[in-house]
Symmetry: C2
């Protein structure tokens, strides 16, 4: 079972990195499988720590995919990294074991500290639509234009019916990514 | 903005009713718009109370739609109703105002008591797919067979990639509903 989360890490120099990650829980441990090379992988191997942020603010996911400015972070109380300032819960994770792999090593992380900050509000279909479009946008270069447009039209229904301002904003950032991509693609075909 | 939640109510005689509801928050109050006639509407008007349950167990939604046995409830500490035994958070709501309407009266509810029970685990694409299929199943009689099959195939992708056992079970209940519906429909066309 895969949960879509935000992983925050720091470099040895203290530079903060915010990245969406699909993670798994296995018997109390968190499994993260970052691609090689990636800032998250490098940071976790260097510092031995990461923070798992559980947020329902889909703008954080969309901002990372659309390369907008990252959302605010603050140090965790244990000092071992930073967490999203606004999130529903976070877990500080310590690296326990690395299963090497050419493409995606498995990082097994142990929970060091957990805290809840706000209750779950319920499912929101627009939030789910933003997450789906974020997945789509991260794979734009592999998909035909027709499929992208079709899926976006389908997901738009939930946005129109159930979105709040945060979901609208995140959706628009991702739609802009799609439109830029399609414009570039059609430009290349004409050339 | 609409959140998909579970509303639990009791009749004057104490019979428990569990129903999925898309609710809205407006300046600290909860707006519920049940259709006429419905057990939830009748119970809230009779008792003046409802409990808003925030759960990530999509089986509770699927069970209500597929008419499976309802999930376990327990009395809230204030005594004004029951909540889902397993949920991430709940709010006890008191009826404050009714805006009458022929089809869907607006019930404005005030929060009497709130409690968090477990932290948000992150977005799960399979949970969102179950919610979408639950919406679809609740509208089966209004939709052409082709649209139903197409959407179900699209949603199946997230199930295959990201579901856990709870999501698989909920998904299967809803798929059975769709298949029964399509079989009945094709039966009627043959007759």
């Amino acid at each position: 079972m895969i949960y879509e989360t935000i992983v925050t890490t720091c470099s040895a120099e203290g530079d903060v990195h915010v990245a969406p990650f699909g993670i798994q829980w296995h018997e109390g441990r968190v499994l993260i499988m970052p691609f090689k090379p990636s800032t998250t992988l490098q940071n976790i191997l260097q510092t031995g720590f990461a923070v798992l942020n559980l947020t329902d603010d889909v703008r954080v996911f969309a901002a990372a995919i659309a390369r907008k400015a990252a959302f605010a972070t603050e140090p965790v109380t244990t000092g071992q990294g930073v967490r999203l300032k606004d999130c529903l819960a976070h877990h500080v994770l310590s690296l326990q074991q690395v299963d090497e792999d050419e493409a995606r090593p498995k990082l097994w992380m142990q929970v060091v500290e957990s805290a809840s900050h706000a209750p779950f509000m319920g499912f929101n279909r627009a939030q789910a639509a933003v997450i789906e479009l974020a997945v789509l946008v991260s794979r734009l270069h592999m998909l035909p234009a027709e499929k992208i447009t079709q899926e976006m039209q389908y997901l738009q229904i939930a946005i129109d019916k159930t979105a709040g301002p945060r979901e609208q904003e995140a959706w628009q950032w991702l739609v802009d990514c799609v439109n830029n991509h399609l414009a570039q693609q059609s430009g290349m075909q004409q050339a």
